[in-house]
């Protein structure tokens, strides 16, 4: 296939993004909510396109860019997330009242960045994809300009993000220097056998840079603040897709480019993952803001995803794929509820969720299932993925890590249950009415719920897919 046809998805996405931007400028202000539908429609088309590439295994531009099932898997994930976020944000964006076209356009740009990250076969593409995603998120995070918190989150993200990019870049430069190449597939060859101190340093810096992106402790500290401050749809997208994208790139980088340093990075990742699950879960306990709680919970989830890397096996990678998917949908479900709730009440405080089950059984149910899925309770997808993750690490003999992970899952159950308790136990406030949800939100909620349930009850298709994708990384 030619390069252009292989890049169809990216090109289509770029065209969509730019088109949205342009249309946003052309269309009169009062008709701009249609852009959301357009964006959704476009994304769905792109998603449909990705289906054509499910089994393609090609590289273009001398290994610069890789189209393989792995990247396609992630692209589909990003697109799905983007579709759901854009659907669920119709109302939210309408309430913003300004710059509606740009919002969707930026979201699509961010998606494009993520796709590049997943497909990058070269450090430079990887870096550009990363920055495209990150810088877009800088803007999106600060999107609610008249909200101080949003601006603050924006500036925090910019400064911390830039610093982490710098250190990542420093690491990339060292790896480039030592290996003499930026093509990920060739770095392993270029690296000296036996750990060169400089390689090690580069590896550590890269790990730190990506650790920041996926918010692994102790590089996670930005995320709760940014998650809380950012507009909720952005938080949702940031929490789910950008983290998944970070993992997509990190796995490829570590497994394909740095296998010679495997003994070192596995240890580091192990410590990071342990710290992450502990910190994320512990600090989530006292939270009172639902977004912040979800932020800490997603920190913890990142820790679980890192387990898959610790395992350093096909199973581990497959588990990462599986868990990313579940994580995306579970978090999206939760965040969609948060968005809808915010739209109705203007609050993100957990205590205001009192009696939600009476006011909107659907919202409460989706929140319940999403949180339980994140906690790893069957028959939800989260259980299956955690099961795979633990299997993967126990397979490698890290049984203590499995204990830690499960123990921390219990802690997570604790704070998830607090939310559930508030929703289900309390009586709604006196003057409250049942919440009527827009169709778009309902559709999102049902979609996330169904995915969590379906892959929890019948995980076989996704498992097979994830395993076959992961086997590409470990041909042995």
């Amino acid at each position: 296939m030619s390069a252009v046809s292989l890049l169809t998805i990216e090109i289509a996405t770029a065209i969509l993004a730019i088109g949205l931007l342009v249309i946003g400028l052309i269309v009169p202000k009062d008709q701009r909510q249609g852009i959301g539908y357009l964006a959704t429609f476009g994304l769905i088309i792109v998603f449909a396109l990705t289906l054509l590439y499910t089994n393609v295994q090609e590289t273009v531009f001398n290994g610069m860019y890789i189209i393989d099932p792995y990247s396609t898997f992630f692209k589909q994930l990003f697109l799905a997330a983007a579709i759901l976020v854009s659907v669920s944000s119709f109302d939210y964006v309408k309430r913003l009242g300004y710059n509606q076209g740009e919002f969707y356009s930026l979201m699509v740009f961010a998606t494009l960045g993520m796709m590049m990250l997943a497909s990058a076969g070269d450090l430079i593409s990887l870096y550009l994809g990363l920055e495209l995603m990150t810088i877009t998120f800088f803007v999106l995070t600060a999107y609610r300009k008249n909200d101080f918190k949003s601006s603050e989150a924006g500036i925090k993200y910019v400064i911390l993000g830039a610093m982490s990019s710098a250190i990542l870049l420093y690491g990339l430069s060292l790896i480039y220097g030592v290996s003499g190449t930026t093509v990920i597939g060739e770095i392993a060859k270029g690296l000296n056998q036996g750990a060169q101190p400089l390689e090690l340093l580069g590896m550590i810096f890269i790990l730190v840079g990506f650790g920041f992106k996926v918010s692994a402790a102790p590089f996670h500290m930005w995320s709760p603040d940014i998650y809380e401050g950012a507009p909720t749809p952005v938080t949702a997208f940031l929490a789910v897709a950008s983290k998944a994208a970070g993992f997509a790139a990190l796995v490829r980088l570590l497994v394909i480019a740095l296998p010679s340093l495997q003994s070192s990075w596995v240890v580091i990742v192990m410590v990071l993952s342990a710290l992450t699950v502990i910190f994320g879960n512990f600090v989530a306990i006292p939270q009172t803001n639902i977004k912040r709680l979800l932020a800490y919970s997603s920190i913890a989830q990142a820790g679980y995803l890192l387990f898959g890397l610790v395992a350093y096996s096909a199973l581990g990678v497959a588990a990462i794929l599986f868990h990313s998917l579940l994580y995306v949908f579970a978090n999206l479900g939760a965040f969609t509820v948060v968005i809808a709730f915010y739209n109705k009440t203007g609050s993100d405080e957990i205590k205001d969720y009192t009696g939600l089950a009476r006011r909107s059984p659907l919202m409460a149910a989706v929140m319940l299932l999403s949180l339980l899925s994140l906690a790893g309770i069957p028959p939800l997808a989260g259980f299956v993925s955690k099961f795979y993750l633990f299997t993967a690490i126990i397979d490698q003999g890290y049984i203590w890590l499995a204990f830690l992970g499960i123990g921390m899952s219990m802690v997570s159950v604790y704070y998830y249950l607090i939310v559930i308790k508030v929703m289900y136990m309390g009586e709604p406030p006196e003057d409250s009415e049942p919440m009527k949800l827009p169709v778009s939100i309902q559709a999102t909620l049902y979609a996330t719920m169904l995915v969590s349930l379906f892959f929890g009850i019948y995980p076989a298709p996704l498992t097979d897919l994830a395993l076959s994708v992961a086997k590409a990384f470990f041909p042995f």
């Binding site: 089950a357 339980l372 309770i377 069957p378 028959p379 259980f383 099961f387 795979y388 633990f390 299997t391 126990i394 397979d395 049984i399 499995a402 204990f403 499960i406 123990g407 899952s409 219990m410 159950v413 604790y414 249950l417 559930i420 308790k421 289900y424 136990m425 019948y458 995980p459 076989a460 498992t463 097979d464 395993l467």
Partner: protein, 510 residues
């Protein structure tokens, strides 16, 4: 293709829950009838299975296999043997009666029955699963509904208790999960089974390394010990019992705790007989603590449900003793005791629920002479109490008798100084203590002069009596004619004991 009877038993409550989802909330009568119908289907099928199980053939019957995740060897495989079928029947009876015990529920009826039915589907699932993955999965399915049921419809420190129960159960299951995974991986190694499978029968064929067995059995012991509950992992259970609404208490004490014993037998002893032999002394000692300590604590409780809660701790100690004795009789007794205790405690809770629903208190000292106002409840309570203290003619007696006989025949010295028979004797002493606290409760609650304060209480009547009658009938039926039950259990226990006897000596104790 034969009729998938076990699957239907599991699915009936789920389908019931789905139907209820579409019934408007205000039609609570229809909701209740639907729930009763759904559980009735399970009950009928369970009875059908019980009657049609071929004890001459034994082994696993009513099988069904559907490959689920082939990459991991996960198969949806169900089937029951002599050990699990009685427990399925138990679950069916308890939930069916539980629905009737909840007939007076008026608060958020729809959600209540949906949650209850999901919960019971999970419990059914555990008992019918032959695949450890599904075993675990179904167990966890049962936990969260339990939380909701207690947290929303409960009483007395319900939030604390619900959380405590949930976390304890999950922590317990976590131990078991790690054990299951480790075992799965071990068996999947080419030099052992070479295939990935969670099938219990297949996993039991592997020759596990002794050290590995010890480790994994330890995990199972702790994990299932949480559920049983084994001292000192038990404190969730009285709190949970007390806080839970009636039907939940019934199901919780009646069935959920049995998952632990069942798991220990099925996943623990059956697969790791050497590990079981190694750890049995510890279980034996702890279970005696359960029995005696639980009974002593029960004696000092002021809340009716707490008494029953601690009595469950005490009674489950017998189950553990049966398991720890590792011989045919004792394990037969352990399974029978699980069944009997389930029925008995469900009866207790349905009656206490009845009282609480009317009197809005469960504090024993506030009662007295309640037999005047509620003679039927009093009679039921006395019968439950008598079952609890192991009166002949009721099912518990047979079970406890078998456990005692079985454990008594163990001629071993633990730790170099403690003869096993000493433990058995202490356990029998537990029966005496049980008599003391049960009779005290009966006396202080039901006997004594008429208390005009409670004159407004009505005796149980009509539909409230359904659970009482069914449960008492079951207790009597299997108490007077235990052969069908014990004979069936025995078909499941015999292969288990053959495995135990074939296993090597470990630790010099068993």
């Amino acid at each position: 293709m034969t009729f998938p009877i076990m699957t239907t038993i599991v699915l009936a409550p789920i389908i019931g829950a789905l139907i209820i989802m579409f019934i408007p909330e205000k039609e609570d009568q229809i909701i209740k009838i639907t729930a009763a119908a759904a559980t009735f289907v399970s009950l009928v099928l369970a009875i059908f299975a019980f009657l049609n199980y071929d004890t001459k053939v034994g082994g696993l019957q009513f099988l069904q296999d559907i490959p689920w995740v082939e990459a991991f060897g996960i198969t949806y495989s169900v089937g029951v043997d002599g050990i699990s079928l009685p427990l399925v029947l138990l679950t069916a009876i308890v939930i069916f009666t539980g629905v009737f015990a909840s007939w007076d529920m008026h608060n958020r009826v729809k959600e209540f029955f949906i949650t209850l039915l999901v919960l019971v589907a999970g419990v059914f699932g555990v008992f019918v699963s032959r695949d450890l993955f599904f075993f675990y999965l179904f167990f966890e399915v049962a936990v969260i509904p339990m939380y909701l049921l207690i947290a929303i419809w409960g009483s007395t420190r319900k939030e604390y208790s619900a959380m405590k129960l949930t976390l304890y159960l999950l922590v317990g299951s976590a131990f078991a999960l790690i054990g299951i995974i480790a075992m799965f991986l071990y068996a999947a190694q080419p030099e052992h089974l070479g295939i990935r499978t969670f099938d219990i029968a297949q996993l039991s064929l592997v020759n596990y390394d002794i050290a590995f067995q010890k480790f994994i059995f330890f995990l199972f012991m702790v994990g299932f010990g949480f559920l049983v509950p084994m001292w000192p992992l038990h404190t969730w259970s009285p709190d949970g019992h007390v806080a839970a609404p009636t039907a939940t208490s019934m199901l919780h004490a009646g069935v959920l705790m049995k998952l632990g014993g069942y798991g220990l037998i099925r996943a623990g002893i059956f697969i790791f007989p050497e590990g079981a032999k190694f750890w049995a002394p510890l279980i034996a000692v702890l279970c005696i603590v359960n029995v005696v300590y639980g009974a002593m604590v029960a004696m000092r409780q002021k809340d009716l449900k707490f008494v029953i809660g601690y009595s469950s701790v005490s009674h489950m100690g017998y189950v553990l003793l049966g398991i720890a004795s590792l011989n045919t009789l004792s394990i037969n007794g352990a399974v029978a005791q699980m069944f009997a205790h389930g029925i008995m405690t469900a009866l207790f809770f349905s009656l206490v629920g009845n009282i609480y629903h009317k009197a809005h208190t469960r504090t024993i000292s506030e009662f007295g002479g309640l037999a005047h106002q509620m003679p039927r409840v009093a009679a039921g309570f006395v019968i439950a109490g008598l079952a609890s203290l192991g009166l002949p003619g009721l099912n518990n007696f047979v079970a406890e008798f078998l456990i005692f006989v079985g454990s008594f025949s163990v001629d071993k010295v633990l730790f170099g100084w403690l003869h096993f028979r000493v433990l058995s004797i202490l356990a029998i002493l537990g029966v005496v203590i049980t008599a003391v606290y049960v009779l005290r409760v009966v006396q202080f609650t039901f006997f004594g002069p008429r208390n005009p304060k409670w004159d407004h209480l009505e005796d149980a009547k009509g539909i409230e009596l359904v659970p009482v009658v069914i449960l008492i009938a079951t207790l009597l039926l299997f108490g007077l004619f235990p052969q069908p039950l014990i004979g069936m259990i025995n078909t499941g226990v015999v292969p288990l004991v053959e495995k135990i006897n074939a296993a090597a000596q470990v630790g010099g104790i068993f």
